[in-house]
């Protein structure tokens, strides 16, 4: 997997902050070079196509880097806007978000701590969940995770907590375990 650039908002200095694009370009260059090194151990036949792809990636990454260096101080209004999962949010010329319910972007601090804190926490909770299910098994981990994440999201009504947990667990049991006989992990503890 390519290493994602980990933007560090702490390193923000008043002038000449590396723009996200610069970090993106440089990380992609690093990823391509690393993978290119890996292809040295392959036979010429097996390596040819990946090398072609990596050279393409390298060229694109270099182009992004150069472009980022040429316009180092991006105007505040032109912060990179988050792309919706669909990808096709807006055509190149049209910078203004044209949807009725636009994501409140373009404000200061796309990479600020305040913005990144909740996604980072969410990710940590999810990683914890997966790590836990390897150890204690799918069902206990899912119950714990659902309770934890719901609580973290501000749900305090015990009826909702119980209802969601019971609903999800029952649904997964009925469909995945009984109908589709998916062998959900039982965990190392109870193997």
């Amino acid at each position: 997997m390519p290493q994602s650039p980990s933007p560090s908002p702490t390193a923000a200095r008043p002038r000449r902050t590396p723009t996200p694009d610069l970090i993106l370009g440089l990380s992609l260059i690093a990823v391509s070079l690393g993978f290119l090194a890996y292809t040295l151990g392959l036979s010429a036949q097996a390596a040819a196509w990946p090398r072609g792809v990596l050279v393409l990636l390298l060229v694109l990454a270099a182009a992004i880097t150069v472009r980022a260096l040429r316009s180092p101080a991006a105007p505040p209004g032109k912060r990179p806007e988050p792309v919706p999962a669909g990808g096709g949010e807006s055509p190149a010329q049209d910078e203004a978000p044209g949807t009725e319910a636009p994501p409140a972007d373009g404000e200061h601090g796309e990479w600020s701590r305040a913005v990144l804190r909740r996604p980072a926490l969410t990710l940590a909770v999810v990683v914890g969940y997966v790590a836990l299910l390897e150890i204690v098994g799918f069902l206990p981990a899912t119950v714990l995770y659902l309770l934890g994440h719901l609580w973290f999201g501000g749900v305090r009504d015990w009826r909702i907590l119980a209802g969601v947990v019971a609903g999800v667990v029952a649904f997964i049991q009925l469909l995945f375990v009984y109908q589709l006989s998916v062998p959900l992990p039982t965990g190392l503890l109870f193997e």
Binding site: M1, P20, D21, L24, F35, Y38, T39, L42, S43, Q45, A46, A47, A48, W49, P50, L57, L60, A61, I64, P80, E81, P82, V83, P84, A85, G86, G87, G88, E89, S90, A92, D94, G98, T99, E100, A101, P102, W111, V115, P119, T122, L123, V126, Y129, V130, L133, E134, Y145, H149, L150, G153, V155, V164, V168, Q179, L180, S181, V182, P183, P185
Partner: protein, 508 residues
């Protein structure tokens, strides 16, 4: 097909057991398709043993009903929560989710249901009436053509890229790179596996897709910005059935996508995932003026194009299956197993000797598509309630389903980790403006492109260029690729020369 055969087929079809099997297949298929990670293939595979004891028409009709309905079902979660239930639903998410955000979720579901049904019906009729000649088309395709089709498909990235074309192509290249992970099928070398068994079979599409779309979406939502849901709530009251004017708008798109879908389906090795992207891209290419701008921002044409194409693939894929015994994908391969278990050998004999059964199965497939449309449109108003659930409840539930879904594909925890990494990386990439859709496209098409290119090296036995030029289909495809590469350049050049009022035509 003469009338006695038709009567026999209808007699086989219209029994309570068969009809019940088809209804069960449609309902189960929609559910399986809507859940991320569960594909129609899996549902079919696990039901094959169940069909042992059934009458062949009931058994096979149920399997094909699941196949069709699961392909549609993928669009429900794609539209409502931006989480495609199947790879074939990824293109639908582009516009479908935007519509939901605008409060038109029910409308998007209705359009998707209608388009899916239309695509499925066209493909069913193609299967019924044109199967033998169309099957011959599939044989003309081999490695060189697959390579060129994959390249053609990769050009779609140009139209998927928001903001920066450069970043779109970066995303595509990353997808191509991911596609090379795993044991190289032509030499047996493990590539980029870093010594793990889990990566030897490559990055699985479904976990990567769930991570890149669903989990990264969850992380975006977690930022807590732009969660204004008043618009969505209005969607609950909106009507699902498209108006006559809307039908008129999407009519041509549906016809075009049906054709594309059937064609893609006939090709072995290309499935609903590719069909929906090509359908989407062509719809955008043919759209004019403001409609073109609407793509990616909630165009019902986009939803119709993608959904119609992927359902048209289902009937198309059954053409080489029934006439030649060649399954085009994993779902049809499993259906082949089901046919064999019932003693039905695909081939000309299937139509000649057991025509009564075969045509009953095809008519059952037709019926399944109609039922699917009815259930889907009736259900749209219920499905859309998913968006009324508060985000704080919806997010944990989506995550749990993402985890169980990525696990269930191969019963592998490694796939769950792939999903997590894809989600985290996808989130960061989205924040720097690199869209996830081209990554998925690169992952799907990369393996086809590489395999096609390298197999054609073997097949050319020396002279590559001469070999490609000696194949008429290759030449046509190369011309198409050149044309679509040159089109934007040509359009820009024309725009400079042609007066203002002529612009729109040239751009289209």
């Amino acid at each position: 097909m003469d009338t006695t055969l038709l009567a026999e087929a209808l007699g086989n079809l219209l029994t309570p057991q068969v009809l019940l099997a088809i209804v069960a297949g449609v309902v189960g298929g929609i559910l399986i398709g809507a859940l991320p990670g569960l594909s129609g293939t899996m549902g079919i595979a696990l039901l094959v043993p169940v069909t042992f004891g059934m009458d062949p028409v009931a058994g096979i009709a149920m399997l094909t009903a699941i196949y069709a309905a699961a392909t549609y079902g993928g669009s429900i979660s794609a539209i409502l929560i931006n989480t495609p239930g199947t790879p074939a639903g990824a293109a639908t998410a582009l516009d479908g989710y935007q519509l939901t955000r605008q409060g038109k979720g029910a409308k998007a579901l209705g359009v998707s249901a209608l388009a899916s049904t239309a695509g499925g019906l066209v493909s069913a009729f193609a299967l019924l009436l044109l199967a033998p000649p169309l099957a011959q088309v599939s044989l003309a395709f081999s490695a060189p053509e697959y390579f060129l089709i994959a390249i053609f498909g990769l050009l779609i990235i140009g139209s998927l890229s928001a903001g920066s074309l450069l970043k779109g192509f970066v995303a595509g290249a990353l997808g191509l790179l991911l596609a090379t992970v795993g044991i190289d099928i032509l030499t047996g070398y493990p590539r980029f596996t870093f010594g793990t068994t889990a990566l030897q079979s490559g990055i699985q599409l479904v976990p990567a897709l769930i991570g890149l779309f669903s989990l990264s979406q969850v992380l975006v939502l977690a930022e807590g910005r732009g969660t204004d849901r008043t618009g969505m709530a209005e969607g609950l009251r909106g009507r699902a059935l498209p108006t006559l004017a809307e039908l008129k708008r999407i009519g041509a798109t549906i016809l075009r996508s049906s054709g594309i879908g059937v064609f893609v389906g006939i090709l072995p090795g290309a499935g609903g995932d590719i069909g929906s992207w090509v359908g989407y891209n062509e719809a955008k290419r043919f759209a004019k003026g403001p409609e073109k701008e609407e793509f990616g921002k909630g165009s019902i044409k986009g939803v119709a194009a993608a959904e119609c194409a992927n359902n048209a693939v289902t009937g198309g894929a059954m053409i080489p299956l029934l006439t030649l015994g060649i399954p085009g994908g994993s779902a049809t391969a499993v259906i082949l197993g089901g046919l064999l278990i019932h003693g039905l050998q695909p081939g000309g004999a299937l139509f000649a000797e057991s025509g009564g059964i075969t045509y009953a199965i095809i008519l059952g497939f037709l019926l399944a598509n109609i039922l699917m449309g009815i259930i889907a449109i009736a259900g749209a108003r219920f499905f859309v309630r998913a968006t009324r659930v508060p985000m704080s409840v919806l997010v944990p539930v989506i995550v749990a389903l993402c985890v169980v879904g990525s696990f269930a594909v191969n019963n592998s925890l490694a796939d769950v980790w792939v999903m997590l990494v894809a989600g985290a990386v996808g989130y960061v990439l989205r924040k720097v403006g690199v869209p996830p859709a081209p990554i998925v496209l690169g992952l799907i098409l990369g393996a086809i492109a590489e395999k096609g290119l390298r197999q054609s090296v073997v097949m050319a036995q020396g002279d590559m260029i001469g070999y490609y030029l000696s194949r008429p289909l290759s030449v046509v495809l190369m011309a198409l690729i050149l044309l679509s590469l040159l089109a934007p350049v040509l359009a820009r050049w024309l725009r400079k020369r042609i007066p203002e009022q002529e612009r729109e035509k040239a751009a289209a």
